[in-house]
C-alpha cells in the first residue's frame, strides 16, 4: 500500500515535469519561427556591396584613362611640336603619338572587356569574358576562311549564337 502511494506520487511528479518540458519546447519553437532568415539577408547585402564596388571601380578607372589620354595628347602635340619644330615631320609625330597612346588604350580596352564580361556573367552566371573572347576569335577565323574560299556556314552559325547570347553583333 505504501508502495502504490509512493508510485502515484512519483507518477504525478513525472507528469508535471513532462508538461513543464513540453511547454518549454513549444516556447523555444515559437521563438525559432520568429527569427528572420539571416543567410538570405546576408547574401543580398554581400551582392549589393560587390555590385557597388565594381561600379565605383569602373567609374574611377574610366576617369583616370580619360584624363591620362588628354594629358598625353596635349603633351605630345604641344611640347614635341614646339621643341622639335622643323626637325620632325608630321608622319613621325603621328607615329610617336600612336606609340605613346597604345599601352594606355590597350589597358582601357582590357578593362572595358572585363566590365563587359561582368555584365554577361550576370545574364549567364558563367565566365562572360571567355565567351566574348571566343566570339572575337571565331569571327576573325571566319573572315580568314572566307577570304581563302573555305566553307564558313558552321563557324558563321556559332558566331550568330554567341552574338545572340552576348546581346550584340560584331
Amino acid at each position: 500500500m505504501f508502495n502504490n502511494k509512493r508510485i502515484s506520487e512519483l507518477e504525478i511528479k513525472f507528469n508535471d515535469k513532462i508538461v513543464l518540458l513540453t511547454n518549454h519546447i513549444n516556447e523555444i519553437n515559437t521563438k525559432l519561427l520568429k527569427l528572420p532568415n539571416i543567410d538570405i539577408e546576408f547574401n543580398k547585402l554581400k551582392n549589393e556591396i560587390e555590385k557597388r564596388l565594381i561600379e565605383f571601380h569602373k567609374e574611377i578607372t574610366d576617369k583616370y584613362f580619360e584624363t591620362l589620354e588628354k594629358i598625353l595628347r596635349v603633351n605630345s602635340e604641344s611640347s614635341l611640336i614646339t621643341a622639335l619644330a622643323h626637325q620632325v615631320n608630321q608622319k613621325d609625330l603621328s607615329n610617336l603619338r600612336s606609340v605613346l597612346l597604345k599601352p594606355f588604350l590597350e589597358e582601357k580596352w582590357k578593362n572595358e572587356e572585363i566590365q563587359k564580361g561582368f555584365d554577361v556573367d550576370k545574364k549567364l552566371t558563367t565566365l562572360g569574358q571567355q565567351l566574348i573572347k571566343m566570339r572575337k576569335n571565331l569571327y576573325d577565323e571566319m573572315l580568314i576562311k572566307e577570304r581563302e574560299g573555305e566553307d564558313i556556314n558552321e563557324i558563321k552559325g556559332k558566331v550568330e549564337i554567341l552574338n545572340y547570347i552576348i546581346g550584340d553583333k560584331l
Partner: protein, 104 residues
C-alpha cells in the same frame, strides 16, 4: 567602266571592326573614305588579301587618321579582302565607302 561602292557602317568594339568584301576578279580600288563619329578619334585602316598580305596598312606606313580618312589609291583587287579598322581610340560608329572601279 563600272563603279562599285562598298558602304561602310560599323561600330568598333575593343578598338576594332572588320568585315569581308565580295570576291573580286577585275577591279581596282580607287578611293577610301572613312569617318569616325567624333572628330578627335584616331584610328588605322587595313586591308588583308587571301594570302594574308596587307595592300594597305596605315598602322605601318604612318598615315593613321584622326576623325576622317580620304585616300586616293590605285590597288588591283583579286579575291576576297578583309576590311578592318584597328587601334580606334573610341568604340563608336564609323561610316564611309570604298570606291571600286570594275572592268567589263
Amino acid at each position: 567602266m563600272l563603279i562599285y561602292v562598298i558602304e561602310i557602317s560599323n561600330t568598333a568594339s575593343g578598338g576594332t571592326w572588320s568585315f569581308n568584301t565580295s570576291k573580286f576578279n577585275n577591279a581596282i580600288l580607287k578611293q577610301i573614305i572613312l569617318s569616325s563619329a567624333s572628330n578627335d578619334t584616331t584610328f588605322d585602316f587595313r586591308m588583308t588579301d587571301d594570302h594574308n598580305n596587307y595592300p594597305i596598312d596605315t598602322s605601318v606606313d604612318g598615315s593613321s587618321a584622326t576623325g576622317k580618312m580620304n585616300k586616293e589609291v590605285n590597288i588591283p583587287l583579286k579575291g576576297i579582302y578583309t576590311i578592318a579598322c584597328l587601334n580606334s581610340s573610341a568604340d563608336e560608329l564609323f561610316t564611309g565607302r570604298l570606291m571600286i572601279q570594275e572592268e567589263n
